[in-house]
Amino acid sequence: MRKRAPLDLTRSVITAIGVTLLAYVCLRAALTVVRGSYSATTYASQLIFGLAQGGIYALVALGYTLVYGILFMINFAHGEIFMGGTYVGYFVIDACARSGLLAQKPGLALILTAITAMATSVTMAVLLERVAYRPLRRAPRLVPLITAIGASLFYQYSFRGLFGTTVKVYPDVSLHVGRIDLISGRYSIGSLTVRPVYFVVFGMAVVLMAGLYILIQRTKLGKAMRAVAEDKDTAALMGIDVDKVIVATFALGAALAGAAGVMYALYNKQVTHTMGFIPGIKAFTAAVLGGIGNIPGAMLGGLVLGVVEATFPTLLGMDVQLKDVLAFGVLVLVLIFRPTGILGEVLSRKRA
């Protein structure tokens, strides 16, 4: 980035504030650990939860990053796409629970739910791209951003209008492998209570991310996506159907969000039409933290944010109610001190 003279003073002030803040956070955390007010098991269980939550953030963050990598715009309605999949997934899993399928073949029921959720999210995202983004690809930057906000509101209140305002609760699922209940079980190992669901969620997230990575790096579609991200016009000249690649990108991100939604609902249970907002913002934070437009960055950012959110309230002795402030704080701090994120370099510099 070029240097701008008038900004130097403010920048150094900002840097000073930031360094002080960071030092304070480290000191406080170190003090808490040294003082030993919490046992190691507390940290361990927080870490496990944080990794699961982080996996969800990472999956949603990939949707932001994929779209940003290609269109250089923030898909503001991505949180709603996450919500839509989860919401419609609820109806499937609820129907399975009523018909007894969930009790007899929980694996099949979960797969059905996940497929429906992913299909819903993909439909929503493709519709969104077609109606709200495609006609505005060459418009001033503010314009698609505003349609995105509009679309986000529209989706949220459509779900409210269609399905009502009552909170839906995902039914309990028991998926036994051997003697362990993978979803609803709680097991004590010494003083540590372990819920296998967190491992399952984290594992699934890793599998999906690995799948995405292979898709991007090894397949023809992935190659086309990388080409379009590099340069749309040149890609078009090489015979790539840019529109199709963009739709595929939206669909891919949405499918991950839909899958993430079902996993999220397996342990958070409650589904409402507003549930997409906070995870959406946090996933965006994760994407920025890792370096927006950078796929491994989104994965890393999600995991880091999940762990930070799970462990910092105790480390810093913060009020748990202020947990959400933490994520926003991280977002602001990252944007101020390292707008390119942890791994992001190439893309952000080009278009920042």
Binding site: I74, A132, P140, L145, I149, L162, F163, D319, L322
Partner: protein, 531 residues
């Protein structure tokens, strides 16, 4: 060969007509399932004859039939294609009615009620209702196709007459009596038909009159407007004035956001934060029961509220100086949420009251006069708005305004021409925030109590919507936007339920069709048309 081509051409036509009908049918199905028809079924446009939901239902096939390429004259083919579109749209709605009537879907779709079926089938038996839906769809579709070929003078007058009847009927309790509706239709349409031609002359003569008496009008314009504004609360009564007060507060805040978004081009989604700060500072300073307990008067508190908001604006502004549009949007969004969470949290409960908020905030007092009624607050809000309008106008035309414009257009170029970006961006944030702070101060003293739940993200979205729908950078646009987006849902209570949904759709539609807003600033319009 020719015949073959012709046939494939007509196949194309049929397919397009069906597709159009299907699209409209899907939209109508969606509208039905979110409950609009059910909610509007009891709002009569013409008492006992025509409800608002029927008007909406009829509008679908009419539009489906209309939206096709028209030839020189109405041909059979066009009418048939229009009719086909209408039939398809009607079939969709009919199938929906059948499905809702035969399968109980209420567990999933809350609005799939028997009432919906009754509304969709006009209260007829199911079979007959569905058949009439399809039939009416066809007729209306054909009528829509024919509509383009009606002479423009007649078209204009009939549309105006029908529109007037619908608006008047919907606003009036129980709608217009049939006779009255007929009279209104006849009068408005007839009048418009007779005077369509004279309208042009009327305009030119007004133009002439205006030019001849320019100096007189210039002197009279502002006093006349002022007298009108001062007299409004006496005409509207208590309820109307309360609605107007709300509109006024939104105008005040909209003008503030307009400086940030419209002039300087900085998309701020956390604008409600400054409103919150203004309200809480006022509450803390004036309420005797607050943690400060100083119990100052409103007049001492509002400058403090404004200042606090300004400081917050600058504090938010400094870190985001370098950020691009979309990052800025999310960071400001985060800022708004942080303020709300902090205000709501238990950690700050001893100071800010947590979920209980701050109560017993006294109203303003002027000598021995106590502001109590909405009418009293109306004048306070009016004063604030006038101030905001004057400040906005003077700034927009000044050196500062031009600097903002340059920054909005291109930051790098602006900086290269010697504009101090830091100074002007922070100025925009501070000024925008200060309007909102004043709005918060008035809000707190008007309601006598503030709770964190009044300060959600939706307020920011509301303000942003009205600024954008009105027209970015346009002062009359902001006022229009507030009247339409804030005033109308308050008056049309049944609509309030769908307000946010409509805002969302409106934001998308405006950006697609008319990005400059309904009352655009001249410069923005040119720029968006070009870009």
């Amino acid at each position: 060969m020719y015949r073959l081509m012709n046939r494939s051409h007509s196949h194309e036509g049929i397919r397009q007509a069906c597709a159009r009908g299907a699209l409209v049918g899907l939209v109508l199905t969606f509208v039905a399932l979110i409950g609009v028809f059910t909610a509007f079924a009891t709002i009569y446009v013409v008492r006992g004859v025509l409800s608002l939901s029927q008007v909406l239902l009829a509008l679908g096939p009419l539009l489906a039939g209309r939206a096709q390429k028209a030839g020189q004259r109405l041909s059979w083919r066009e009418a048939l294609a229009g009719g086909l579109s209408g039939v398809v749209a009607g079939t969709f709605v009919g199938l929906l009615a059948l499905a809702v009537a035969s399968v109980n879907m209420r567990a999933v779709l809350v609005n799939a009620t028997p009432q919906l079926v009754r509304t969709l089938t006009f209260g007829l038996p199911l079979g007959l209702g569905v058949i009439s839906l399809v039939g009416f769809g066809g007729l209306l579709g054909a009528a829509g196709a024919g509509w383009v070929h009606v002479p423009s003078r007649l078209r204009f007058s009939v549309a105006l007459g029908l529109g007037t009847v619908v608006v008047l009927g919907a606003l009036r309790q129980n709608g217009l009596a049939p006779v009255l509706a007929a009279v209104v239709l006849a009068l408005v349409s007839g009048g418009a038909w007779l005077y369509k031609r004279q309208w042009q002359e009327l305009q030119t003569s007004y133009e002439l009159f205006r030019r001849r008496n320019e100096s007189l009008l210039a002197v009279l314009r502002w006093p006349l407007a002022l007298v009108f504004l001062l007299a409004v609360p006496y005409v509207l009564g208590t309820y109307g004035t309360s609605v107007l007060n709300l509109v006024g507060l939104y105008v005040l805040m909209g003008l503030g956001l307009n400086i940030v978004v419209g002039y300087a081009g900085l998309l701020d989604l956390g604008y409600v934060a400054f409103f919150t700060i203004g309200a809480y500072v006022t509450g803390l300073l004036t309420s005797p029961r607050s943690s400060l307990g100083v119990g100052l008067s409103f007049w001492a508190a509002w400058p403090a509220a404004m200042l606090a908001a300004m400081v917050a604006g600058v504090l938010l502004g400094i870190p985001v100086l370098r950020m691009r549009g979309d990052y800025l949007a999310i960071v400001t969004l985060g800022f708004g949420e942080i303020i709300r969470i902090l205000v709501l949290s238990d950690s700050f409960k001893p100071i800010l009251g947590g979920a209980q908020g701050i109560i017993e905030i006294p109203g303003p007092r002027l000598g021995g006069f106590q502001f109590v009624k909405p009418q009293h607050f109306y004048y306070l809000i009016l004063l604030g708005c006038l101030l905001a309008v004057i400040v906005s106008r003077r700034l927009a035309d000044s050196r500062v305004g031009r600097a903002w414009l340059a920054i909005r257009e291109d930051e790098d170029v602006a900086e290269a021409t010697g504009i101090n970006i830091v100074k002007y961006k922070l100025l925009a944030f501070a000024l925008g925030a200060s309007f909102s702070g004043i709005g918060g101060a008035i809000f707190a003293s008007w309601l006598h109590a503030i709770f964190p739940n009044s300060f959600t993200l939706l307020v920011s979205i509301n303000i942003l919507s009205l600024v954008i729908v009105g027209g970015l950078g346009s002062i009359p646009g902001v006022i229009m936007g507030a009247l339409v987006l804030v005033g109308l849902p308050e008056v049309l209570r049944a609509f309030a339920e769908y307000r946010m949904l409509a805002f969302g759709a409106l934001l998308v539609i405006m950006m697609l069709a008319r990005p400059e807003g309904i009352w655009p600033a001249k410069r923005v319009r040119e720029e968006l048309r070009r870009g």
